[in-house]
Symmetry: C2
Subunit: 525 residues, 2 copies
């Protein structure tokens, strides 16, 4: 990478380290984020693009949860047909039951919850799409590209309506719709489906389960994406499913890599930016630094259940307090519930904590997490073993990926006891293998030719400069399911083969009969 000159002006330096990567300035980017934790990592890219001289306009629903204004980007608020209270009650429903033992099937429950949430989001999207003055104003801004998370449909619909190339920034879409839409093969024989507890190595029953889940996904996701399909068709006035719509995306910035996901096929326009949220870290505030340094050799534990869940039933909270009382580590816990009077002294409860910066601290010994991908990558980045307590969504599958690598232990929230928590925590902290395996994984994750944020910026600017990434779009998009799998060709060839065999057999039999007749005639004569 380095070619020899030691003292260089800024412009040269760009050329210096990456030859042909010439910068673009003054691009106009329309951003349609997905609210909540999805926004937290997209924001990093938005801010970086702004820092590099692009005009960033972020569309924000007026009931936004986590999207705030900023000096680095412009926000454009739009009206949604529900109040903040209605959204919060909807979100509460999404979280409902996360502390209880799941009934019958996780899948149906998860999909039902998601369905409630997305239906409301789709309504919110309509608030924007059918706000004609605002849409006109946005259209006239002359954006170069649109950056969105296709987890929700609004961004992709606007991209199509404005004829803008779309950049996707995502962890994934339920039912693997992202892979389907990108024409990415995903054989169920070694690519585990969500909610199956399968790894990439499966025995026969596990492969049967994986295949059955592939079928279940088709059914459930038809239901889940029905409102997306309907909105796409209605607004764009095109006979097009949501899958077909997002298939037009230029670049998929996938928020994972193969230290987390199991290795599987990729498409040329899928770019891995796993760990984009943890590459940069800041010093922690002085009071926290004092607290964690006071932990001595024992070190400290970070405990959060994600941006969505900051409380838990009081009885359960006591279980955690009691377990923490019995460990030599100090504990930093993001918790907004009531703290018992006799709470142990080694626990510091906070409304919010600088998770990434704390995990980067050399005294961090373990990370108790719900298994969201942001937290997982922060753990991997800084090599901190994890105790994982999945709550909902993809978290169960995320956790399974880490546990199968030997870098984490997992517990189910509903049956956590002081004893089981203590045992798991001690295991993760004191059994060397967890730290060793996590350090190895961390080294592999951090050893990369280019930082994920730089890669995300590069591809965003690439699409701006070249008005898309058409050379990475597979021709598979022009084929239907039967054509893609060559079933028509196989059928045709089988038909020909059968015809040839039939004709040959018939001819042979005809000749044989004729010969036989002649022979018998001769015999008679």
């Amino acid at each position: 990478m380095v070619r020899g000159v030691l003292v260089v002006p800024l412009g040269l330096l760009v050329w210096f380290c990456c030859g042909s990567m010439d910068a673009v300035h003054g691009g106009k980017v329309l951003v349609m984020p997905v609210d909540g934790s999805h926004w937290l990592s997209m924001k990093i890219l938005v801010e970086e693009l702004s820092r590099r001289g692009h005009e960033m306009v972020v569309l924000v629903p007026e009931t936004s949860i986590l999207i705030r204004g900023s000096d680095t980007y412009t926000t454009q608020t739009f009206h949604v047909p529900y109040t903040a209270d209605e959204l919060n009650s909807n979100l509460d429903k999404l979280k409902e039951g996360v502390f209880q033992k799941p009934e019958l099937s996780d899948v149906v429950v998860n999909v039902e919850r998601l369905l409630n949430f997305t239906t409301m989001q789709v309504k919110g999207c309509e608030g924007l799409l059918y706000d004609e003055p605002l849409m006109k104003q946005l259209r006239e801004k002359g954006f170069d590209i649109l950056l969105t998370d296709p987890f929700l449909p609004c961004g992709s619909i606007i991209a199509d309506a404005f004829s803008l190339p779309a950049i996707y920034f995502l962890r994934g879409i339920p039912c693997g719709l992202d892979l389907d839409a990108a024409q990415c093969p995903s054989p169920p024989s070694f690519v585990p489906r969500f909610f199956t507890d399968n790894t990439d190595v499966m025995n026969f029953p596990q492969r049967v389960k994986n295949m059955l889940m592939t079928g279940v996904e088709i059914y459930l996701c038809k239901k889940l994406f029905a409102s997306f399909d309907e909105l796409t068709k209605r607004y764009l006035q095109k006979d097009m499913t949501y899958k077909e719509l997002i298939g037009n995306g230029a670049i998929w910035l996938m928020r994972y890599d193969f230290t987390f996901e199991y290795p599987r096929p990729l498409m040329p326009n899928m770019v891995q930016i796993g760990g984009i949220n943890c590459a940069k870290r800041k010093a922690i505030p002085t009071d926290l630094e004092e607290f964690v340094n006071g932990s001595g050799d024992a070190g400290f534990v970070i405990f959060t259940l994600g941006s969505m869940v900051s409380q838990m039933p009081e009885a359960k909270a006591r279980v955690f307090f009691e377990a923490f009382r019995q460990i030599p580590q100090r504990v930093l816990w993001r918790y907004t519930g009531p703290v018992p009077e006799n709470a142990p002294k080694n626990v510091k409860v906070m409304k919010w904590l600088p998770q990434n910066d704390l995990l980067a601290h050399p005294k961090a010994r373990a990370f108790i997490t719900h298994g969201g991908t942001h937290g997982i990558y922060e753990g991997i980045c800084h090599g901190v073993p994890m105790l994982m307590i999945p709550l909902f969504g993809d978290q169960g599958d995320n956790v399974q990926r880490m546990v199968s690598r030997g870098v984490a232990e997992s517990l189910r929230f509903y049956d956590v006891t002081t004893e089981s928590l203590l045992a798991a925590l001690n295991k993760v902290i004191n059994e060397k293998s967890y730290k060793e395996k996590m350090t190895k994984l961390s080294k592999i994750h951090n050893d990369r030719p280019i930082e994920p944020l730089d890669l995300a910026v590069f591809w965003t600017e690439f699409v701006m400069k070249h008005k898309g990434a058409e050379h990475l779009r597979p021709a598979a998009h022009e084929l239907n399911w039967i054509q893609y799998h060559s079933l028509d060709v196989i059928g045709f060839l089988v038909l020909i083969l059968v015809t040839i065999i039939l004709v040959t057999v018939k001819s042979c039999m005809f000749c044989f009969r004729k010969c036989m007749r002649k022979t018998s005639k001769k015999k008679k004569e």
Copy 2:
């Protein structure tokens, strides 16, 4: 990429542009190249790795064609059971017929020629493998990794014998064995097979042809790789095919990208380094500079048929001379055959020419090439439209890729006339679309987050540091063909379904009959 400091010492600069990419020094790399043009681009990586402090030992057959000693790497010569003359006559056979119209099927001819060549190369490999003192000496050197082109089997066999992680550096292996071995999906519905003249967009008859070729490949390649399989089994004393052997490779450095190849699935351990051979360029010698500058606005044409073919039948050479006489451009021709007395003045015939540096010259107007991938990438790098005359091997398919992008015209050598040559050349030079499309392709190719050579070095050092790239190896390697395609699972589920249907139908019929009997009894009563 650039984070703000303007004046930085060298160490910082490395961190500065690529955070975690820490360098490795003093690695020991065993290199088993494939001779001929394959070596020319691998040499670039070998020299760069040496420059970065690694000990490079290159294994060279004593009858080497293009592999020479160097100051930057060590060579280790090994005995082969054939003379240089025998090798040359074998090579001549490989080239035999390249100037004639192919009979019946190119495929069979190509495979037959290749078979003759590879059989001799396998014998050469045995010369090395069974030279026990040399092998012992190499084993004791304690190499970290092995770098090879799996087009021939010697490197991969040594990697297995020495238990070294293997890095592959290649354009491809006949019959797509590389994709097969890497478990990379390659659907015949949009991934064109070699020798079919198909692009990635195929109609039904073309898809039938593609599917048939997939079948033909299976048969031909069984023949082609029989000696590889046999040597693998015999030498390693393992029940293993050559495909299984190379499936163990850590990283596949693929010498193409999607400005040349049609977009299709990739696997995580496949790294694209297309254009590695043309990123760096030097000034051309003074006499050449004078010659090409003397061409005025008309510019000049570069004409070579690759490292293997420097002559042609005299009558055909005259066709070229006559065509060149009629164009305003000057022509630089790599040609070692007899030059007619009245050869035109605008043609400079040379035994060897600095192809990449000439193509980078601003006065270069067209590139007449046989369509080897090195030349093609030099043309793409520097944005020079091409007139392509494929001779053998993958060249026909390479040419087709460029022609379908509108950046090249093609002619078949056996029916080139002065008129057709002139017409095609004038088209490529004077019709603006060729230059415009090529400039666009060139910009896309050169716009990349990291240079191909740096990427190749990165992954080589990655494998050295982490003793492989196990996290990128798909679990598909543990599955057989039936399991990979889930045929056993599908069969099982169909069986269950059929059983359920049968039992249901039988039960219904049983009940129905019982009911009927009762009814008829009642009626009778």
